[in-house]
């Protein structure tokens, strides 16, 4: 596993609209959220920031949207330095945060009108823009209803509309579909595709859904432990992995060193990873590799409970570059945050 940032895929030609260099952020209590994170988003493209909870995605978004300050490092958005000219950055960006943020005690329309006013829209221009957004996000009928009566999908659509009131140059979408039912999620995906395609908006999207990144983002940056471990187009990332993924599940925890020694000698296999009961390996021809693997493991005294062969997926990409499985990283992040209690988590903990 490499520790540096790798780039793979097509050569970059566009102009960077979002650029972050060497961002470091440590929260009180010693939790390192960002550890030298660097990224760029080119004009009119969607960058998917993919990683488990706690990887540093939200902290990155908070810094780029002027909410938080990095301990060190620099970032520019739409040509403005986030630390030196936060006001200019704020005028250029639209933000859809993880938490809704819409005022539940106001109507959808009132939320939009207030948001527009904060960006200096007034009178007829403001009304026209609000009507336009209500219609576009299928909220016209609900415009005069309190947001607290909205469904999850309606609320999320309103959130996106709020982020677009002032026609921003760059849109930040922080986990836009978390908590949505499948139908609302698909609708949101279509909307994001439309924003990126027809309107040429530059979008930075964070997600912990592999399929979401795969579907929406032109380029994906995988975040793990506060830094980008690899970056490229979804196809290029998957193409980097030679051959099929073979996943084996053992009946009992295997001895890592012994299994590695046995399997490393086999021909046509690479990227071997042994983790408890799970053995993952890449093979040029997955189907042909299975009997060879089974035989070798049986000789080593490790009984196999299940074997699967799969074409490369983003999960495999994650495993390859982060050195662990996505679900494991997710579980670890949860365990970490339960113990450490960053300010953000303390808030959530105190709430419920």
């Amino acid at each position: 596993m490499s520790t540096g940032t790798m780039s793979t895929g097509s050569t970059r030609t566009g102009t960077p609209v979002v650029r972050a260099d060497n961002l470091v952020k440590t929260y009180p209590g010693g939790v390192t959220a960002l550890n030298g994170l660097a990224l760029t988003v080119e004009a009119g493209t969607v960058l998917g920031l993919l990683g488990p909870n706690g990887a540093g995605k939200s902290t990155t978004v908070k810094i780029l949207t002027t909410l938080a300050r990095p301990d060190s490092g620099t970032a520019t958005v739409a040509g403005h330095d986030v630390l030196r000219h936060p006001g200019r950055v704020r005028r250029a960006i639209g933000v859809v945060a993880q938490k809704s943020g819409a005022d539940p005690a106001a109507t959808g329309r009132e939320n939009l009108v207030l948001q527009g006013r904060l960006y200096g829209l007034r009178g007829r221009e403001l009304n026209r823009r609000v009507d336009e957004l209500l219609e576009r996000f299928v909220l016209t009928d609900a415009a005069r209803r309190m947001v607290k009566e909205y469904s999850g999908g309606m609320r999320r659509r309103l959130d996106v509309a709020l982020g677009l009131v002032h026609r921003p140059e760059v849109l930040f979408l922080d986990e836009p579909t978390t908590g949505l039912d499948p139908e609302a999620r698909t609708a949101m995906w279509d909307e994001i595709t439309r924003l990126a395609g027809d309107e040429g908006l530059t979008i930075l999207l964070t997600t912990h859904y592999l399929e979401e990144a795969d579907r929406l983002a032109e380029r994906i940056a995988i975040v793990d432990r506060g830094r980008i471990v690899v970056e490229g187009t979804p196809d290029a990332l998957k193409g980097e992995l030679r051959g099929d993924a073979v996943h084996l599940e053992l009946r009992a925890d295997g001895d890592r060193a012994a299994l590695t020694a046995v399997l490393a000698g086999l021909a046509g296999l690479h990227d071997l990873a042994v983790d408890g009961r799970r053995v993952s390996v890449r093979a040029d021809d997955g189907a042909a590799a299975v009997p060879v693997l089974l035989a070798a493991l049986e000789r080593a005294g490790a009984a196999v409970a299940a074997a699967t062969v799969a074409r490369p997926s983003l999960d495999d990409v994650y495993l390859r570059y982060a050195g662990r499985r996505f679900s494991e990283a997710e579980a670890e992040a949860q365990a970490d945050s339960a113990g450490a209690g960053t300010p953000v988590q303390a808030t959530a903990g105190g709430a419920r």
């Binding site: 009180p28 908070k62 949207t65 002027t66 909410l67 938080a68 300050r69 006001g87 704020r90 005028r91 960006i93 933000v95 945060a97 993880q98 938490k99 809704s100 943020g101 819409a102 005022d103 539940p104 005690a105 106001a106 009132e110 207030l114 948001q115 006013r117 904060l118 960006y119 200096g120 309190m146 709020l162 300010p343 303390a346 808030t347 959530a348 105190g350 709430a351």
Partner: protein, 259 residues
């Protein structure tokens, strides 16, 4: 203050006021509560005025300013709960990513609290009038009373907001408020003339900001107002309000750094 800050302050205040107006049950309760106090304490202590030192022969005359100030305290000290909710819901962060004037966000809390307290105070004064209370000090006296309760509301509203941003726990706000409300009320001249209090209690009450608001209001409402009392207590409240707002602004800045 720039015109932009003023405009933003008004938008934010408007938003908060609309949210309050749209809670009919909350409005009803905050209206019924002073009625109960006026009726309950008005009857319970009706005859204490006979002890003397109340400056009036009708207990209700004495009681109304006490209830006005007590209600200002009681409603303002929960301001932090609203702020906390806005933080948890992500509303505050949404505003912070827009070009909204930072001071407008804090100003709106103060202005909204002031307007709410003023409305509540005027309603209680009118209810008292309905119940037969008389205000010899007239309009001038009533204005002082309402201003004093606005200042007191500002003090406790700002402190409550600071607490909400600092501890970010509902339980802490509830705990501190329940702990403070009764001692602050009873260690004041709300129900009993200082002349009839044990001397140590009257001495403590002298340092109680809640009492300052009551003394200022009552003095101004008297037939022959003691403007010295009004100015000293009013001035002390104003100074305290400035300190409390400064403190909550500082806490807001540290919140912005902790996001």
């Amino acid at each position: 203050m720039s015109t932009e800050t003023l405009a933003h302050t008004w938008y934010m205040t408007q938003r908060q006021l609309m949210a309050i107006v749209r809670q009919p049950i909350f409005l009803l309760i905050s209206l019924i509560q002073p009625v109960i106090w006026l009726f309950l304490f008005g009857n319970l202590f009706k005859r204490v005025v006979e002890l003397g030192g109340f400056g009036t022969t009708t207990y209700l005359d004495y009681l109304v300013p006490g209830i006005v100030v007590m209600s200002a305290l009681g409603s303002s000290m929960w301001a932090g709960m609203g702020t906390l909710e806005e933080i948890e819901r992500g509303t505050l962060n949404r505003f912070l990513t827009t070009p909204v004037s930072r001071s407008a966000l804090m100003n709106a809390n103060v202005v909204q609290n002031g307007i709410s307290t003023a409305c509540q105070s005027v309603i209680i004064v009118l209810l008292g009038l309905l119940g037969g209370a008389r205000y010899p000090g007239g309009a001038g006296g009533l204005i002082v009373l309402v201003a004093a309760s606005i200042l007191l509301g500002t003090v406790f509203g700002a402190l409550s907001n600071a607490l909400g941003m600092l501890v970010r726990e509902r339980e802490s706000i509830i705990g501190i408020n329940t702990f403070l409300l009764l001692p602050l009320t009873f260690l004041s001249s709300a129900f009993m003339a200082p002349a009839q209090m044990p001397s140590w209690m009257a001495a403590i009450a002298d340092f109680n900001p809640v009492n300052w608001a009551m003394v200022a209001g009552r003095s101004a409402l008297a037939a022959d107002p003691d403007w010295g009392d009004v100015l000293t207590r009013g001035g002390a409240l104003l100074a305290l309000a400035v300190v409390a707002v400064w403190l909550s602004t500082r806490t807001f800045r540290s919140y912005q750094k902790s996001v």
